[in-house]
Amino acid sequence: MLLIPCPYCGPRPEIEFRYAGQAHVARAADPSALSDAEWAQFLYLRDNPRGRHAERWRHTNGCGRFFNCIRDTLTDKIAATYRIGETPPDLAAGAEARR
């Protein structure tokens, strides 16, 4: 069971949240300008890293907000959570959010 720090509510148990896919998958401003390959990338292709992964989560049974979360897929450690639209924090040098 993960303890997920919602950027709006603070740390809450995993059961209050729902995973919402990979983060920073931007919808094009002009979707008709995308090539087929770009569409395939946007719709279907997702990263599957062993390690840190930027994800969207939603605090479904809480504030209802979507937010971004950097989670290590190997250890489940959550390095950071931040609001939609914010840029990912610099996580170099092992800087980690409080647990």
């Binding site: 069971m1 993960l2 148990p13 919402a20 979707p31 008709s32 979507f66 450690k77 639209g85």
Partner: protein
């Protein structure tokens, strides 16, 4: 008093006689209960029964200690061979003494007698025996043991497959197995609780108590859990002095101090059974297991989710059995358990004892046995010179010391003697009569929770045991669980771990003064098995796995620890091999001539001890798990005799039967006909309803829907189609504009939550800059559909006079706010699903009941009838509207014949992908209607096949999605998805349904069977 000591056939025969209720003897009279000592309450006698006989015990007993106090040694039969079994341990690791506890709906199988707290009236029966414990017919399984040894499931019953289900499995289940489930709904309740703390301390033995004290004194929020019903762990079971006081007494004063600390919470009867990510631990508290029935409103058990910043695992250690011939005879017991029965429960587990150990733990056992007045016949130790302290202790109590090993136990239903082989004279067998063998193969640290997150335990040669490996973040291990054997080490280790944990949470801890303790030896020399020629030597008692099974696994190549486990079932019983795993692994290491670390290590998974599914479910049972949603008009529909059906969580009226109906179809036909000819009313409150406001609401809806919404005039409604980004249809519904910046959206009942989630995503993630707010108001509005040529006439009686709802003022697809019944606010939409002149009227939920009654009263003179889902569905098929069967996640707007709704003037979700070449392919299955031209029945799911074509996937041309009998037209009407779609009007096809054995000729036609011009809608 029952004498269970006899092993004569006469005893067995007596078991067939009706059970005599023997009056319980006062426990004090029992020759097995010590007159003094222990922490049982001699002033609180308790009556209990085992296998129908009454016995007496004391408050503070477990079922196991109470049985021992009554001289009962035989308590169960083993899983596979039905061997007589007694009590091996005194804690939750017990593999043998499993009983069915309680009766009726509360009957609970596989309960360990060693942790079942005695209460007045406790009723337990032994399990896995027939017809009785003493005379068990299935014990012949033992004779067939060559057949049912390791791997027998895999080898013996491989062929033919059908035999497995019909013959083998029922047979095995009867012959092998454990207790019986109650088979009735559990009458008790279970609950979940959440707790947060700085330091969680698991276990309240010497290490745990010191850890809790150190952290608690520093001011940290501490939770101390122990699975026992008394705190103190081994301090309750040992006869040691701490600071010149008996250790149990010393523990008592520590507990009193802990109880006085405001930030320390103490949970007894609470097993921490799982370690999870981020410092989350799950624990099961047995709130009422020690009561005959829980008090009213008291849960039986409670599952805790404990979030801890730091954790000190002080779970102690589990003693290992020694492996020799017939080591499972009732009376063969772990040494530490013998001491627990003597010192904590004041029970003599036997009258004549032999001690057999490979480690210095035997010293305490010898002294405690002697102190209790039990004659110790011999002390057997395989170690030579290293056994000095044990030899000295034996000498002190006048017991013969034998450097050697017990090779075989004798006796059937109870131990009668042991055969010993001495190192000096291996050819000369010594036999010692005894009814108790106290054995110790050393102690295994309880590393379980340390490995739940994947940390592999590490082998220590010095301790001959696995100690915790890499630990979960935030956990430290103290005391015997860390391999710190010996009381002084446990106390010091616990105090240190507790202080450090508190320090990590920002609480400065002062050092806790160490109490004075005498020296203690902890030497050990591994002895994994005694090479006995006769008698089964058990490794896993609960799953009946013997040394021969491990040898067989080795010969057949199942040598890796995980293979060994699965091939022999070693460690796979409900005790998860607590007493068995290390012995099994070590024997495999010996056989393969490898080291133990090279052979492997068992990692554990939650739960540490079995947890009832009911406890995990908590209150989430039945309707509390899947609640029922009722519309505001439900009571009214019930009064009309509606038959309801579940749609999602909702209960919706399916039809309204009347006396004389032959079937639901009569009711359905009546409702359709009444609506088409006069007027009908249907509760559509279950539709998803979303209220949107904001200056960008129109723009937002433009991006969500395939058709334009910003162009919708105020006071008008529009049918809307929503696509997924990949181009397929997500949902349909209506959009109404109530003001320039105010829209009201409906979704289908099934997709209400999904559409809301989709909108939230689009607004929060894709377009957070849009000025729009929206909220689900599905529960806030009751909504009724009023349909039929006389619908307006009914409505005019309800809508307050100032609102003009004539066809001119309020035409087809009008929407607006009105009042009804003298000022009740309402929203009126002139939209139709049935194809008739129709309105949907929406009122605040609290008026829903009154309004449906008013509608029916107003419509009565005009012949109004309520209609249910069946009639609704028939009318939608007659009219050719798509529903859930057509919007199935695989269809596009074009497939459904709705391409004219798709705007080409704006961007919206799904637009580009809906234009993919594959989705425009002319042979995609597309929406059509069909009529039956044969005489067979047709059901949804039937496949369209060309006439004369062989039924095969290759010839499949689509399928029937919806079909109904149309009372309006007098024949079957159907909808489907057919390759080529509307280009094939007039063609004859087969509706082929091999599942139901149907094959009927149909003719493809337009999906709109009723009023294709739409004149009735606009009337």
């Amino acid at each position: 008093m029952v004498d269970a000591a006899s092993n004569k056939p006469a005893r067995a025969a007596a078991e067939f006689a009706p059970v005599r209720q023997t009056a319980a003897a006062p426990s004090a009279a029992s020759p097995y209960r010590l007159a003094t000592g222990g922490i049982v309450d001699r002033s609180a006698p308790l009556l209990f029964s085992f296998d129908g006989r009454n016995y007496g015990g004391l408050r503070g007993d477990t079922l196991a200690s109470a049985l021992l106090a009554n001289g009962v040694r035989l308590v169960g039969r083993s899983f596979k061979y039905h061997r007589p079994r007694g009590i091996l341990a005194a804690g939750s690791e017990e593999p043998n003494a499993l009983v069915e506890l309680r009766e009726g709906a509360r009957r609970e199988p596989n309960t360990r007698a060693t942790v079942a707290e005695l209460y007045e009236g406790l009723a337990a029966v032994s399990q896995n025996r027939w017809p009785s414990l003493w005379f068990d017919c299935m014990a012949v399984n033992s004779l067939f043991s060559p057949i049912i040894g390791a791997g027998f499931y895999y080898k013996t019953f491989m062929w033919p497959a059908s035999f497995w289900e019909k013959l083998y499995e029922p047979m095995i289940r009867r012959a092998a197995g454990l207790g019986r489930a109650a088979g009735m709904p559990d009458p008790d309740t279970y609950e979940k609780a959440f707790a947060h703390c700085d330091v969680l301390v698991i276990g309240s033995g010497p290490a745990g108590l010191m850890a809790a004290l150190a952290a608690g004194r520093a001011g940290a929020r501490v939770i101390l859990c122990d699975e026992d019903f008394e705190f103190g762990g081994r301090l309750l079971a040992e006869c040691r002095d701490i600071d010149g006081r008996p250790c149990a007494q010393w523990a008592g004063s520590l507990l009193a101090e802990l109880a006085s600390l405001p930030e320390v919470r103490m949970l007894k009867r609470t097993t921490v059974f799982g370690a999870y990510d981020h410092g989350v631990y799950a624990a099961i508290e047995r709130v009422a297991d020690h009561l005959a029935t829980p008090s009213p409103h008291m849960p039986r058990q409670r599952v805790w989710n404990i979030v801890a910043k730091r954790t000190v695992l002080a779970a102690g250690a589990i003693e290992r059995p020694l492996v020799f011939g017939n080591n499972d005879r009732p009376g063969v017991m772990l040494g530490g358990a013998v001491r627990a029965y003597l010192n904590r429960f004041a029970v003599k587990p036997g009258t004549r004892a032999v001690v057999f150990a490979n480690n210095d733990d035997a010293v305490a056992t010898l002294l405690d046995l002697a102190a209790a007045g039990i004659s110790v016949q011999a002390c057997v130790d395989p170690r030579g010179a290293d056994a000095g302290v044990v030899r000295a202790a034996a000498q002190r109590i006048g017991t013969r010391f034998v450097n050697g090993a017990v090779v075989r136990a004798r006796g059937g239903h109870r131990l009668r003697a042991v055969d010993v082989s001495a190192v000096a004279e291996p050819w000369h067998k010594l036999t010692f009569p005894c009814d108790l063998l106290a054995m110790s193969g050393g102690w295994s640290p309880s590393v379980h929770l340390s490995s739940h997150l994947g940390g592999r335990p590490q082998w220590s040669d010095a301790l001959a045991a696995f100690v915790p490996g890499p630990l979960p973040r935030g956990m430290s291990v103290a005391g015997a669980a860390a391999g710190e054997f010996g009381l002084a080490a446990c106390l010091a280790g616990g105090a240190k771990a507790g202080a450090e944990a508190a320090g990590d949470c920002g609480f400065a801890a002062k050092p806790v003064a160490m109490p004075g303790i005498g020296p203690e030896p902890i030497g050990i020399a591994a002895l994994w098995r005694v090479r006995a020629k006769r008698g089964k030597a058990f490794v896993d008692f609960q799953n009946d796995v013997t040394v021969s099974d491990i040898e067989l696994a080795e010969r057949e190549g199942f040598r890796a620890v995980e293979h060994l486990k699965r091939y022999t079932t070693l460690g796979m019983a409900t005790d998860q091999g607590k007493t068995a795993n290390v012995n099994g692994l070590a024997i495999m290491a010996e056989l393969t001539e490898k080291t133990i670390p090279a052979t492997g290590a068992t990692r554990f998974r939650p739960p540490y001890t079995p947890v009832a599914i009911g406890a995990l479910a908590g209150h989430h049972r039945r309707k509390d798990f899947k609640p029922t949603r009722l519309t505001p008009g439900h009571a009214w529909a019930q009064e009309q005799g509606a038959v309801f059906m579940e749609t999602g969580l909702w209960l919706r009226a399916q039809y309204f039967p009347q006396p004389g109906d032959n079937s639901w179809l009569d009711a359905c036909n009546r409702e359709v006909t009444a609506t088409r000819n006069a007027v009908g009313v249907c509760d559509v409150s279950t539709l998803g309803k979303i209220d949107l406001q904001g200056t960008d609401a129109g723009l937002f809806l433009d991006r969500l829907y395939a058709n334009a919404m910003s162009s919708l005039p105020v006071g008008r409604a529009r049918y809307g189609l929503m696509l997924r980004e990949d181009g397929f249809v997500l949902d349909d519904g209506t959009v109404s504009r109530l003001a320039e910046d105010h829209f009201f959206v409906t979704t289908t009942t099934a997709n209400a939550a999904r559409v809301m989630q989709h909108m939230d995503f689009c607004h929060q993630v894709l377009w957070p800059d849009l000025d729009v707010q929206f909220v689900s108001v599905s529960d806030q509005w009751a909504q009724y559909s009023l349909a039929g040529p006389k619908a307006r006439e009914v409505l005019q009686k309800l809508v307050d006079g100032q609102h003009d709802i004539s066809n001119t003022a309020f035409p087809y697809m009008a929407a607006g706010e009105v009042t009804v019944g003298g000022g009740v606010p309402a929203r009126l939409f002139r939209i139709s699903f049935s194809g008739e002149l129709a309105y949907e009227i929406s009122v605040p939920a609290r008026f829903g009941d009154a309004v449906i009654r008013a509608v029916v009263a107003a419509g009565a003179p005009l012949g109004i009838r309520p209609y249910g889902l069946e009639a609704l569905s028939v009318m939608r098929i007659e009219k050719g509207h798509v529903g859930g069967a057509e919007i199935n996640g695989q269809t596009t707007a074009r497939d459904l014949g709705l391409e004219r709704m798709v705007s080409s003037k704006k961007d919206f979700i799904g637009r580009v992908m809906a234009g993919r070449p594959a989705l425009l392919a002319p042979d995609r299955p597309a929406f059509v209607g069909f009529k039956s031209v044969g005489d067979g029945a047709i059901g949804a799911g039937a496949h369209f096949l060309p006439v004369g074509a062989e039924p095969s996937a290759r010839n499949d041309e689509g399928h029937v999605t919806s079909v109904a009998y149309s009372p309006t037209l007098g024949h079957l009407v159907g909808l489907g998805l057919l390759k080529g779609g509307s280009k094939r009007l007039g063609e004859k096809m087969r509706a082929y349904d091999p599942l139901r054995g149907r094959d009927t000729l149909i003719e493809v036609c337009s999906p709109v069977f009723y009023d294709p011009e739409g004149a009735r809608l606009r009337a």
